[in-house]
Each structure stands twice: as C-alpha cells, then as structure tokens.
Symmetry: C2
Subunit: 224 residues, 2 copies
C-alpha cells in the first residue's frame, strides 16, 4: 500500500502546521486537544481537522479529543520526520548556503551533511560547519554516506544534468529549488519549490487591488 | 469585481507555466497553439487548459487554437507582470541576497530596489548593485519610492514586528519567506513560501517508498 496515494497533497502540506501547534501543546503538558480547538488555531473547519488527522491514522476520543503525543508521533512517522535523513545541497551559492544553514530543517528531520559546487573558489570552504566538495565527488560520497536526498540550487541550465548525476548516484528524492522542470525515472521523487507560482498568487492579488484603486478593502487579510 | 475571487489559486499558480511555454512559442514566431499541444507540454488535461485560459479571459478559435501573443498579454496583465513592480527585501542574509540577485524576477515584473537589515556589518554594502539600508530607513524610503511589496527573509521572531513596520509604511503585499504566520489587517496581501509544506510532501513520499523497501517502482515519476 502506498499511503501517499490515499492522502491528499493539501492534507500532507498542512501536517507541519498541526505538528507545530501540537508540539507546543505537548510542551505545555496538554494531554488532549479537540478538533475545534485545532480548527480555530489553524483557521480550518473542524471536519477538515478530523479528516486530516484520520488520514495519518489517528482519531479523537469522545469528550477528550485527540491525544497530543500520539498525534505528534503519528504525523512524524507519516512524514518520516521521526528519524533524521541526510541530504546534500548541490550549488553553494547564496540560496544553497541559506538552506545549508537553516536550523529549522533539523525540526523536520533533515540534516544537510555536505554541499557541492564546481566553482574552485567555493570548493573546500566550510559553510555552517559543512564542507563544499567538487561535484565530481558527488557520486562517491552519496554511496559512501548513504545519502538519498539532493537539494538542487544550481542555475536552471545545470539542473537537468545535475539531477541525472544525482539519480545515477542513488539519490531517491530531489528537492528542486531551480526553475527547471525535471524529467525523472519512475520511483524518483521530485518536489519543486515554485517561486514563480507563489509570486503569481501575490502579484495577481496586488494587481486586482491596484486596478480597483482601493488599498484596504478587499478582505485579503488573514493568517498566512 | 475582484478577479482573484473568481479564479482558483491552482489556476493562478499554473499561469507562470503557460507564460513560459507561450513566450518560447512566440519567440519561434508560432501564431497559434491548441489546447491539446499546451496540455501535452504541461502534463494537464486539454479541458483544464481551456478552463485556465478562459479564467484570464481568452478563448481558442475553432481549428486555429489560442492566439499566442494575446494569451501572453492576457496572462501578464492578469498577474500585473506587464509593468515592473518595485520591491524591498528585508533581511540581507544569504536568502535575502539570493532573492535580490535572482535575475528570473525581472521576467515576473519584480524589481528589487533595495535591501534592509539591522546588522551594522551589512548596512551600506552593495548587493547585486543594490544598497543595504538600516531598517530605520524603511518607512521613509517606502514612501519616497512608492514601493508596495516587501520580501521578508528575517528570522522568525523578527517577522511580526517587521511586517507591522512594513504595513505602517504603506506596503500592500508581503512575500513571506519566514516560518512565521503573520496576522495582517484586511487589504494587506500575504503570500508565504512554505518550505515546511514542500518538504512534507517530499518526506512523506520518500518515507512511503522506504517503508515499502523498494527503490524504483512506485510511479512517482513525472515532470515537476
């Protein structure tokens, strides 16, 4: 059974929000939370909360609600965040360095162990305590260190050959921060951070607001 | 009428893909493309293509298809990408510098005119030809330069007060790269680049694959 097939992507994308709220509740020694409490904090409908949590295999108890620690454990197991996964960053430019140093990733079970680049100026440098290796060493190190995730921050044109090298080296999942659309064989996972799509949402709302000539009346508010 | 209310977010997020494909077609002097040609390139259903393009006000012509230049113009106008919008980057760390130097944004009608930080080491530096100003100058410069977009790359804890300063300074749209959830008044647009959600999708697919113990058979392939 492929669990992912049965759980919608919007649900998966909301799981880190549940995790963040529930971990804080666990720190406050809260044992149970209700779906309506969660719904209020996350600006969702209670029925949506119950469906999302049912998707990872937990259900609420009558009058008590959801057991906080069980839900945290279930979400972390579902996401594979209960054990830390090592990753390589390819491209030691500003974005690669920013990602290599992002402390939040530890919380998400992701550990950047090394960076790669083809710029002799960058090779050998230490970035947040991690070394920048020449791209020629990628394959050897991926095999030796059993790394399965590659984070791509190379220029668009370099992305397809680098992705191919990564796949040939045993990488199973590519987190693609480049604008390139990657064609990968079956079984290799690609998740793209699509800045153009995000900017499109922002721009279209701003354009609509500017066209109306009003600044502050379109109900675009909310927690995001 | 608020156009955005009538156009679904998934459609808006796909518009940059259409734009990219259609601009390349226009460079090749292609006058018309069919919905099935677009559907094939973008891995969508033809009916989806027709709905998406109808949402920005263009329809195909019998036997000819969609007029390429008209569709490009309609999408650019819808997104407000037909005229360049100035933006400030707040937070001149690696992510802020990466975004300030991202040449792709020009294509999306976004022009970073300055960066802001509160680190004396960074203030006064030139980053990709743009100056880093002290955050205390934000309000004055936003007013003088009529800047309406702020790109936030500050630490999580700094995000709410910086967002408030930006809003008080006349910023109408915040592109939020921080993990913070921002509460903003009605009429202010916030679009968050949610790295945790993106990583959740990647992680859950990888965890499912690893749990099944197979490497290459789950049909996770595709263009992304």
């Amino acid at each position: 059974m492929d669990r992912v097939v049965n759980v919608s992507l919007p649900t998966v994308r909301r799981l880190p929000l549940y995790l963040s709220v529930l971990k804080k509740a666990a720190e406050r020694e809260t044992a149970y939370v209700s779906s309506s409490q969660l719904a209020k904090v996350l600006a969702l409908e209670p029925i949506q909360v119950r469906k999302d949590l049912a998707a990872v295999g937990v259900s609420g108890q009558p009058r008590l609600g959801f057991p906080v620690r069980n839900v945290v454990a279930a979400i972390e197991e579902f996401l594979g965040w209960d054990n830390v996964t090592d990753a390589f960053v390819v491209g030691a430019g500003h974005l690669g360095i920013a990602l290599a140093g992002y402390s939040g990733f530890q919380r998400y079970g992701l550990n950047v162990v090394a960076l790669f680049d083809n710029d002799p100026e960058k090779i050998g440098r230490q970035v947040h305590g991690k070394e920048v290796f020449p791209i020629a060493k990628f394959s050897n190190l991926a095999g030796r260190l059993h790394v399965h995730i590659a984070i791509l921050t190379v220029p668009e044109a370099a992305a397809p050959p680098v992705a191919q090298l990564a796949i040939d080296s045993g990488i199973r999942a590519i987190w693609n921060f480049t604008p390139a659309k990657l064609s990968v064989p079956a079984g290799v996972i690609v998740e793209r951070v699509d800045l153009a799509a995000s900017l499109a949402v922002l721009s279209s709302k701003l354009a609509a607001q500017m066209n109306r000539g009003d600044g502050r009346t379109d109900g675009g508010a909310g927690r995001q």
